[in-house]
Symmetry: C2
Subunit: 127 residues, 2 copies
C-alpha cells in the first residue's frame, strides 16, 4: 500500500470517528519515533481504541508479525482495545489482532472472512 | 516558539513518558486536520493525559484561549486529563488549564508560579 493511500484512509476514518462522536487523533508516524504507535487513537469517554489502518484493492491483506505485536503492546500499556481497520476498496472492516490468520511468516486477513470475523464501523463504535 | 523547538520538546517529553512506563503518541499535527488534537496523548492503563507542549526561554508563556478550549474539549470527549506542559529553558512544569491566568485577551502562565501551581514530571506521572 502506498503511503498516500494509507494517509487518505486514516483521514477518512478520523472523519468517521468524529462523526460518531468519538475524539480521535492521528499519529505523527513511525518515521520520527523509536516507539511503537498505532495510526489512530480514539476515545469516547468510556472506551479507547488503538487502530492500525490499512487500505487495499486486493482480496486479502498481509501484516508483519512485529507490526501486530507492537499494536498489542501499545494498547496494553496505554489501556486501549487493539483494532485493525482494513479498507477493502470501498468497504471498511474492523478486526481483532487474534482474528488474523498466522501463515507462519506473517499474518493475513481475507476479505471473504469479513462477515464471520470482522465488525462494520457502526458495530465497532456502538458495541 | 518555533515549530522545531516545539517538536524537540514534544520528542523529549515522549521519551520521558516512555521512560516512566507510560505509552505515549505524538499527534500528526493540526496542519493536516480540521479536528482539535493535543500534541501528545499518554496512558498507563489507568490514567490518560492529553498534553499541549510548549517551550520558551522567557519567564512566562501566553496561550490563545481557543487553544486551551480545544484541549479541554478533546480531553472531555476522549476521556483524558487535560495538561499543559511548559519547558522553561531546562525545567518542565505541568499545569492544569484552570491554573492559567486569564488576561482578558488570552491566557498566561508565569514561571514564578511553578512552585505554587505546577507539578513536576515525577509528581504528574505518579500521582
Amino acid at each position: 500500500m502506498s503511503k498516500i493511500k494509507g494517509s487518505n484512509a486514516e483521514r477518512e476514518l478520523l472523519n468517521m470517528l468524529w462523526g460518531a462522536s468519538w475524539a480521535a487523533m492521528r499519529s505523527a508516524g513511525s518515521g520520527s519515533m523509536h516507539f511503537p504507535s498505532p495510526d489512530l487513537l480514539a476515545g469516547n469517554g468510556i472506551r479507547r481504541l488503538a487502530i492500525e489502518v490499512k487500505a487495499t484493492k486486493a482480496d486479502k491483506k498481509y501484516f508483519q508479525k512485529d507490526q501486530i505485536k507492537q499494536l498489542s503492546n501499545f494498547s496494553q500499556y496505554f489501556g486501549a482495545e487493539p483494532w485493525i481497520a482494513i479498507k477493502f476498496s470501498r468497504d471498511w472492516v474492523f478486526v481483532n489482532p487474534e482474528d488474523l490468520e498466522d501463515t507462519g511468516q506473517n499474518m493475513v486477513f481475507h476479505k471473504k472472512e469479513c462477515e464471520n470475523k470482522g465488525l462494520d464501523f457502526d458495530t465497532l463504535v456502538r458495541s
